[in-house]
């Protein structure tokens, strides 16, 4: 790692001010950023640690019956505290990485990073959640802009994510056992006014909604409705040593079927 200093603000306001300085970067749980720093793929002059900011931590029900999760909340806390409100999302959090990763990694860090194989982008997009920052509110449909790219501006901090709670949901994750990330995973959320299906780990453009499956499942929420679809095109899917684009396209359909079968 190159050298840098660390600042530890205790309010969002102080963190935003600290991030204004040249070469400053936010540090959430560090479970993506620290490995990146070790391989010298990033060289910030200053890290602004968000872990001391209590106002962006925690899980609560909002007045509009959306589940509100602070941007600095760890995966372990979401797994434990969201379970009674939104079991599908709590389960997604409980499947991220391993216990030590879940004790440190945060939802804000995961969304800001937008890894094409990360779990939270799928749950967030399928829920039609709203990402709240220090400056504004961004709809999930506008937030994810391709691999490792989001609508966030420089120095903008995710302070909260607001999740509408579906009637039924499930996260079907095909594990890539070496990295513990999904090889491909699908989050299905059934709302009173329609079904949303979000896919991670498959497309070279990052998380996406599978429109054909959404249309089919909105009129018939059954595995048979998924079976009747053709898999999405392999063109533009990720191909690497773990799987070909064709394999991933096939997995999208299989995991969507599993998510529907298990939705509760």
């Amino acid at each position: 790692m190159y050298a840098f200093e660390i600042e530890t603000p205790s309010t969002v306001q102080d963190a935003v001010a600290a991030l204004k300085s040249e070469g400053a970067q936010a540090l959430g749980g560090g479970h993506t950023l620290i490995p990146t720093l070790k391989s010298r793929l990033a060289a910030p002059e200053k890290l602004v640690a968000l872990s001391g900011i209590d106002e962006i931590k925690g899980v609560r029900m909002g007045d509009d019956s959306r589940l509100c999760i602070g941007g600095g909340t760890t995966h372990a806390t979401v797994a434990a505290e969201a379970a009674g409100h939104y079991p599908g999302l709590a389960r997604l959090a409980s499947l991220i990485g391993d216990p030590a990763v879940r004790n440190r990694g945060t939802i804000g860090g995961s969304l800001a990073n937008n890894d094409p194989s990360a779990c939270y982008p799928a749950g967030t997009l399928a829920s039609g959640a709203t990402i709240v920052t220090n400056a504004r509110e961004i709809a999930a449909d506008d937030f994810f802009q391709g691999m490792f790219t989001t609508a966030l501006d420089e120095g903008e901090i995710i302070t909260e994510v607001k999740f509408p709670i579906p009637e039924k949901s499930f996260y079907a994750k095909m594990l890539q056992p070496a990295s513990r990330f999904p090889l491909t995973a699908v989050f299905v959320a059934k709302f009173a006014d329609g079904v949303r299906v979000a896919v991670t780990g498959a497309s070279e453009s990052g998380v996406f909604r599978w429109a054909e499956a959404e249309a089919a499942l909105s009129s018939d929420f059954s595995k048979a409705a998924v079976d009747a679809l053709s898999a999405p095109p392999a063109d533009g899917m990720i191909g690497d040593i773990h799987g070909t684009p064709e394999y991933r396209a096939h997995l999208v359909k299989v995991m969507t079927g599993r998510a529907v079968e298990n939705a509760a």
């Binding site: 050298a3 560090g30 620290i34 490995p35 070790k38 372990a76 391993d98 030590a100 990763v101 004790n103």
Partner: protein
């Protein structure tokens, strides 16, 4: 350099660290507590797991300065006060839960974190909890057995 103070295995310690100093470097090089191992340094293997404020934490993926004021427990803190092996350590010895021993400090610390929250885990729960602890020698069966034994459960059915 900034000054950092924390409680490690019940003792208050302090030292000077850089922003980039990792907790594992502070423990091993600053305090001489070399029981915590670095297996991968890429956040995957779990050999470096310690407890920070009671939570299993990869000390290779945590900055020392951010542990200011924290309670840290390492493998050196797992023995009984008289120096004999603690319950989980003894179970690893009794059930051959180690061969080269490189992964063992992390295994024991993860097992301790599991048993604190879930004193009587099922075999499946033990295996799931050890997702982030990699062992290149044992094939895991005897590690699972040791943890089942440390939780006071019948191990004859586990991992056969």
């Amino acid at each position: 350099m900034t000054k950092v103070s924390m409680t490690v295995n019940g003792k208050t310690v302090s030292g000077e660290v850089e922003g980039r100093t990792l907790l594992v470097e502070f423990l091993r090089e600053g305090l001489g507590l070399t029981g915590t191992h670095v297996g991968c340094d890429t956040s995957q293997c779990g050999a470096c797991v310690v407890h920070v404020n009671g939570e299993a934490t990869k000390s290779c993926t945590t900055f020392a300065s951010l542990c200011d004021g924290a309670e840290v427990t390492t493998i050196e803190g797992m023995a009984n006060p008289d120096g004999s092996l603690g319950k989980i350590q003894q179970a690893f010895q009794d059930h051959h839960g180690l061969q080269c021993g490189f992964c063992t400090p992390g295994m024991v610390m993860s097992a301790a974190a599991l048993l604190k929250d879930n004193p009587k885990p099922t075999e499946a729960e033990v295996r799931h909890y050890l997702d982030g602890n990699i062992c290149r020698c044992t094939g895991y069966h005897n590690i699972v057995k040791a943890i089942m034994a440390a939780s006071g459960q019948d191990v004859s059915i586990a991992a056969e």
